[in-house]
Amino acid sequence: MANFDTELDASGLNCPLPILRAKKSLAGMEAGQVLHIIATDPGSVKDFEAFSKQTGNELMESKEEGGKFFFLIKKS
Protein backbone atom coordinates (compact mmCIF):
# COMPACT_ATOMS: atom_id res chain seq x y z
CA MET A 1 0.00 0.00 0.00
CA ALA A 2 1.39 3.33 -1.07
CA ASN A 3 1.45 6.22 1.36
CA PHE A 4 -1.47 8.57 1.59
CA ASP A 5 -2.34 11.74 3.46
CA THR A 6 -6.07 11.40 3.98
CA GLU A 7 -8.42 8.46 4.07
CA LEU A 8 -12.08 8.36 3.10
CA ASP A 9 -14.23 5.36 3.96
CA ALA A 10 -17.18 5.39 1.56
CA SER A 11 -18.19 1.80 2.35
CA GLY A 12 -21.91 1.17 2.09
CA LEU A 13 -22.51 4.35 0.12
CA ASN A 14 -24.02 4.27 -3.34
CA CYS A 15 -23.71 6.48 -6.40
CA PRO A 16 -23.07 9.40 -6.42
CA LEU A 17 -22.04 9.68 -2.76
CA PRO A 18 -18.51 8.18 -2.99
CA ILE A 19 -17.62 10.71 -5.70
CA LEU A 20 -19.19 13.62 -3.83
CA ARG A 21 -17.42 12.68 -0.57
CA ALA A 22 -14.12 12.29 -2.44
CA LYS A 23 -14.54 15.71 -4.01
CA LYS A 24 -15.16 17.18 -0.57
CA SER A 25 -12.11 15.47 0.92
CA LEU A 26 -9.89 16.64 -1.94
CA ALA A 27 -11.11 20.20 -1.49
CA GLY A 28 -9.54 20.24 1.97
CA MET A 29 -6.18 18.87 0.79
CA GLU A 30 -3.04 20.42 -0.67
CA ALA A 31 -1.87 19.85 -4.26
CA GLY A 32 0.27 16.72 -4.46
CA GLN A 33 -1.34 15.07 -1.43
CA VAL A 34 -2.88 11.64 -1.83
CA LEU A 35 -6.39 10.54 -0.88
CA HIS A 36 -7.11 6.90 -0.12
CA ILE A 37 -10.72 5.88 -0.75
CA ILE A 38 -12.44 2.69 0.34
CA ALA A 39 -15.74 1.88 -1.38
CA THR A 40 -18.14 -1.02 -1.76
CA ASP A 41 -20.11 0.32 -4.74
CA PRO A 42 -18.94 -1.66 -7.82
CA GLY A 43 -19.89 1.33 -10.00
CA SER A 44 -17.24 3.40 -8.25
CA VAL A 45 -14.45 1.70 -10.26
CA LYS A 46 -15.53 3.31 -13.52
CA ASP A 47 -16.73 6.44 -11.77
CA PHE A 48 -13.40 7.23 -10.14
CA GLU A 49 -11.67 6.71 -13.50
CA ALA A 50 -14.08 9.19 -15.05
CA PHE A 51 -13.77 11.55 -12.10
CA SER A 52 -9.98 11.62 -12.42
CA LYS A 53 -10.06 12.19 -16.16
CA GLN A 54 -12.46 15.08 -15.84
CA THR A 55 -10.98 16.80 -12.79
CA GLY A 56 -7.30 16.26 -13.59
CA ASN A 57 -6.64 14.59 -10.22
CA GLU A 58 -4.47 11.54 -10.92
CA LEU A 59 -5.88 8.09 -10.19
CA MET A 60 -2.67 6.41 -8.99
CA GLU A 61 -4.19 3.09 -8.06
CA SER A 62 -7.49 1.24 -8.35
CA LYS A 63 -7.90 -2.26 -6.99
CA GLU A 64 -10.37 -4.73 -5.58
CA GLU A 65 -9.74 -6.88 -2.56
CA GLY A 66 -12.27 -9.05 -0.78
CA GLY A 67 -15.29 -7.33 -2.30
CA LYS A 68 -14.03 -3.86 -1.47
CA PHE A 69 -12.60 -1.28 -3.82
CA PHE A 70 -9.57 0.85 -3.03
CA PHE A 71 -8.44 3.97 -4.83
CA LEU A 72 -5.50 6.35 -4.51
CA ILE A 73 -6.04 9.79 -5.98
CA LYS A 74 -3.40 12.50 -6.06
CA LYS A 75 -4.72 16.04 -5.88
CA SER A 76 -3.60 18.13 -8.86
Binding site: G12, L13, P16, I19, T40
Partner: protein, 160 residues
Protein backbone atom coordinates in the same frame (compact mmCIF):
# COMPACT_ATOMS: atom_id res chain seq x y z
CA UNK B 1 -13.53 30.67 -14.77
CA UNK B 2 -15.25 31.14 -18.07
CA UNK B 3 -13.96 27.83 -19.44
CA UNK B 4 -16.10 25.96 -16.90
CA UNK B 5 -18.54 23.56 -18.46
CA UNK B 6 -22.19 24.28 -17.86
CA UNK B 7 -25.12 21.93 -17.19
CA UNK B 8 -28.71 23.16 -17.34
CA UNK B 9 -31.54 20.96 -16.07
CA UNK B 10 -35.31 21.42 -16.14
CA UNK B 11 -36.96 19.40 -13.36
CA UNK B 12 -40.66 18.84 -13.97
CA UNK B 13 -41.57 15.84 -11.84
CA UNK B 14 -42.51 15.72 -8.17
CA UNK B 15 -42.37 12.07 -7.17
CA UNK B 16 -39.81 10.34 -4.96
CA UNK B 17 -38.32 8.32 -7.82
CA UNK B 18 -38.07 11.26 -10.21
CA UNK B 19 -36.54 13.49 -7.57
CA UNK B 20 -33.28 11.59 -7.93
CA UNK B 21 -32.09 12.23 -11.50
CA UNK B 22 -31.90 16.03 -11.28
CA UNK B 23 -30.17 16.08 -7.88
CA UNK B 24 -27.79 13.20 -8.64
CA UNK B 25 -26.72 14.66 -11.97
CA UNK B 26 -26.47 18.21 -10.65
CA UNK B 27 -24.38 17.30 -7.59
CA UNK B 28 -22.09 15.00 -9.60
CA UNK B 29 -21.59 17.55 -12.37
CA UNK B 30 -20.74 20.16 -9.74
CA UNK B 31 -18.16 17.75 -8.28
CA UNK B 32 -16.66 17.40 -11.76
CA UNK B 33 -16.29 21.14 -12.03
CA UNK B 34 -19.43 22.05 -13.94
CA UNK B 35 -21.41 25.15 -13.22
CA UNK B 36 -25.00 23.92 -12.75
CA UNK B 37 -28.47 25.41 -12.78
CA UNK B 38 -31.75 23.60 -12.22
CA UNK B 39 -35.01 25.19 -13.26
CA UNK B 40 -37.92 23.68 -11.30
CA UNK B 41 -41.31 23.93 -12.91
CA UNK B 42 -44.77 22.45 -12.38
CA UNK B 43 -44.57 19.34 -10.17
CA UNK B 44 -40.81 19.71 -9.96
CA UNK B 45 -41.46 22.51 -7.46
CA UNK B 46 -42.32 19.82 -4.89
CA UNK B 47 -38.59 19.06 -4.79
CA UNK B 48 -37.93 22.50 -3.35
CA UNK B 49 -40.24 22.26 -0.33
CA UNK B 50 -38.56 22.54 3.07
CA UNK B 51 -40.53 19.54 4.23
CA UNK B 52 -40.30 17.00 1.46
CA UNK B 53 -43.30 14.69 1.35
CA UNK B 54 -42.44 12.93 -1.89
CA UNK B 55 -44.25 9.73 -2.78
CA UNK B 56 -43.86 7.01 -5.33
CA UNK B 57 -46.88 5.31 -6.88
CA UNK B 58 -47.15 1.89 -8.50
CA UNK B 59 -50.34 3.14 -10.19
CA UNK B 60 -49.89 3.42 -13.94
CA UNK B 61 -46.25 2.38 -13.58
CA UNK B 62 -45.85 -1.17 -14.93
CA UNK B 63 -42.08 -0.79 -14.87
CA UNK B 64 -41.91 -0.50 -11.09
CA UNK B 65 -40.39 -3.58 -9.47
CA UNK B 66 -42.50 -4.64 -6.49
CA UNK B 67 -41.46 -6.85 -3.59
CA UNK B 68 -42.23 -10.57 -3.49
CA UNK B 69 -43.12 -10.63 -7.17
CA UNK B 70 -46.25 -8.61 -6.48
CA UNK B 71 -45.94 -7.00 -9.89
CA UNK B 72 -46.39 -10.43 -11.47
CA UNK B 73 -49.71 -11.39 -9.90
CA UNK B 74 -51.15 -8.18 -8.57
CA UNK B 75 -54.02 -6.93 -10.76
CA UNK B 76 -53.44 -3.51 -12.28
CA UNK B 77 -56.43 -2.12 -10.38
CA UNK B 78 -54.86 -3.39 -7.16
CA UNK B 79 -52.26 -0.69 -7.44
CA UNK B 80 -55.09 1.82 -6.94
CA UNK B 81 -56.07 0.42 -3.52
CA UNK B 82 -56.05 3.16 -0.86
CA UNK B 83 -52.83 2.98 1.10
CA UNK B 84 -50.89 1.32 -1.69
CA UNK B 85 -48.98 4.52 -2.45
CA UNK B 86 -48.00 4.96 1.19
CA UNK B 87 -46.88 1.33 1.45
CA UNK B 88 -44.80 1.50 -1.72
CA UNK B 89 -43.28 4.82 -0.66
CA UNK B 90 -42.22 3.39 2.71
CA UNK B 91 -40.83 0.27 1.04
CA UNK B 92 -38.90 2.31 -1.50
CA UNK B 93 -37.41 4.55 1.20
CA UNK B 94 -36.35 1.55 3.30
CA UNK B 95 -34.85 -0.14 0.28
CA UNK B 96 -32.87 2.97 -0.63
CA UNK B 97 -31.60 3.33 2.92
CA UNK B 98 -30.47 -0.30 3.06
CA UNK B 99 -28.61 0.09 -0.23
CA UNK B 100 -26.77 3.22 0.83
CA UNK B 101 -28.64 5.47 -1.59
CA UNK B 102 -28.71 9.06 -0.37
CA UNK B 103 -31.98 10.66 0.67
CA UNK B 104 -33.40 13.40 -1.54
CA UNK B 105 -32.81 15.88 1.32
CA UNK B 106 -29.16 14.89 1.48
CA UNK B 107 -28.61 15.19 -2.27
CA UNK B 108 -30.37 18.54 -2.32
CA UNK B 109 -28.15 19.79 0.51
CA UNK B 110 -25.08 18.59 -1.38
CA UNK B 111 -26.27 20.52 -4.44
CA UNK B 112 -26.64 23.61 -2.27
CA UNK B 113 -23.14 23.18 -0.85
CA UNK B 114 -21.76 22.79 -4.38
CA UNK B 115 -23.41 26.07 -5.36
CA UNK B 116 -25.86 24.52 -7.78
CA UNK B 117 -28.20 27.38 -8.62
CA UNK B 118 -31.85 26.50 -8.17
CA UNK B 119 -34.57 28.50 -9.85
CA UNK B 120 -38.25 28.14 -9.09
CA UNK B 121 -40.69 28.84 -11.90
CA UNK B 122 -42.57 31.93 -10.81
CA UNK B 123 -45.54 31.19 -13.03
CA UNK B 124 -46.12 27.75 -11.46
CA UNK B 125 -45.67 29.16 -7.95
CA UNK B 126 -48.46 31.63 -8.73
CA UNK B 127 -50.58 29.04 -10.54
CA UNK B 128 -50.65 26.65 -7.59
CA UNK B 129 -50.66 29.41 -4.93
CA UNK B 130 -47.55 27.94 -3.33
CA UNK B 131 -46.40 30.09 -0.39
CA UNK B 132 -42.73 31.06 -0.91
CA UNK B 133 -42.14 30.39 2.81
CA UNK B 134 -42.61 26.65 2.15
CA UNK B 135 -39.53 26.55 -0.06
CA UNK B 136 -35.91 26.12 0.98
CA UNK B 137 -33.77 29.23 1.27
CA UNK B 138 -31.43 30.41 -1.43
CA UNK B 139 -33.78 29.99 -4.38
CA UNK B 140 -34.25 32.39 -7.20
CA UNK B 141 -37.64 32.90 -8.78
CA UNK B 142 -37.79 33.41 -12.50
CA UNK B 143 -39.32 32.49 -15.81
CA UNK B 144 -38.43 30.88 -19.12
CA UNK B 145 -36.19 33.76 -20.13
CA UNK B 146 -34.20 33.32 -16.91
CA UNK B 147 -33.65 29.67 -17.81
CA UNK B 148 -32.42 30.51 -21.31
CA UNK B 149 -29.98 33.09 -20.02
CA UNK B 150 -27.96 30.18 -18.59
CA UNK B 151 -29.11 27.32 -20.85
CA UNK B 152 -28.19 29.28 -23.97
CA UNK B 153 -24.56 28.90 -22.98
CA UNK B 154 -24.81 25.42 -21.49
CA UNK B 155 -22.83 22.45 -22.81
CA UNK B 156 -25.55 20.04 -21.71
CA UNK B 157 -29.26 20.67 -21.24
CA UNK B 158 -31.56 18.04 -19.78
CA UNK B 159 -35.32 17.96 -19.44
CA UNK B 160 -36.32 15.64 -16.62
Amino acid sequence: MSDEKKLAIIATKGTLDWAYPPFILASTAAALGYQVQIFFTFYGLQLLKKNLALKVSPLGNPGMPMPMGMDKWFPVLGTAIPGMQAIMTTMMKNKMKSKGVASVDELRDLCGEAEVKMIACQMTVDLFDMPPSEFVDGLEFGGAATFFEFAGEADITLYI
